[in-house]
Amino acid sequence: MKQISNDILTRCKTGDREAFRILVHTYQRMVFSLSLKMLCDEDDAKDTVQDVFLKVWQNIAGFDSRVSMSTWIYTIASHICLDKLKKKRRMSPLPDDESVFREYAEKADAQTELENRQWVAVVRILAEGLSGKQKLVFTLCQLEGLDSSEVQEITGLDAKQIKSNLYAARQIIRKRLKDMGYE
């Protein structure tokens, strides 16, 4: 995980905009990634990135340096994403999503980069029917590749709750893949 230097952090705390620009540059892709996977909409994801860094800017003076910056930013992003998910209507896959997913699934073993619209389609197919919490845990553990302790810190859930949410999410996704003809 990328980290910024203590010098940049200290400058950010004193309101140095140039230092903050470096911080934004370092973490914006990480926040965009989580937001896009959670909200399945590129414009919403960009708005979320903006909201997250506005919150970071407003609260950075009180940031505890013992906590990892990425974990802190992930925590803010997770809360904002969950809030936005609650306000959004239920996300259902679009008619084209299945064909995009099948196309991707055929060559998932090859190291092909996904475009953002493909990401959206794939996640919409996989995560349909998951609750906000299940989706967050699944995204952080499976798609972002974070370890369990970090996910605990970000979500505020304990290990047991993370395990159960992840298990439920996996079951739903496995069933979906099975229904689509993938074993």
Partner: protein, 150 residues
């Protein structure tokens, strides 16, 4: 390896790309409020999102307090209405007394339906007071007589 693991392993290693990173960074920087670092106060030059938020918070807290107060008042009024209509506040003795008085003294005022008017109730009340006074004086008289006999 099944398809689920294959897909998950593939997705795990990837992150979506921000198409125009510089543009996004610039828009974020432009949206930041200006800080007066010496006094740690925000100067409202850029988007004053936080001010709007604070205003909303105050309004919402006022609404919450108002809603709670009105709910309590509504429950109280409904309770009072039910209690008054159930007639539990009038004791059985009083009710029986009023009925007796009505038939004895104010039957000429009562309608066929037997419901009392305020005037009838007032007369009953006055009658009951008179009766009470009479009974007290009778008791006194009896005590005096007993005392004299002894």
């Amino acid at each position: 390896m099944n398809k689920y693991d294959e897909i998950m392993n593939h997705l795990k290693g990837m992150k979506p790309n921000v198409e125009d990173e510089e543009e996004l960074t610039e828009s974020i920087m432009a949206s930041l409020p200006v800080f007066d670092c010496e006094n740690c106060q925000e100067l409202t030059e850029a988007t004053p999102t936080y001010t709007v938020q604070a205003g909303r918070n105050i309004t919402s807290s006022v609404i919450v307090v108002l809603r709670t107060t009105l709910s309590v008042a509504a429950v109280f009024l409904i309770g009072l209405f039910i209690w008054l209509n159930s007639g539990k506040h009038v004791s059985e003795k009083t009710e029986a007394y009023i009925l007796t008085q009505r038939t004895e003294h104010t039957s000429h005022l009562s309608g066929i339906d037997g419901y009392s008017t305020p005037a009838e109730l007032y007369m009953c009340y006055m009658e009951s007071r008179r009766t009470k006074e009479n009974s007290i004086s009778k008791i006194r008289k009896m005590i005096n007589e007993q005392y004299e006999n002894n």
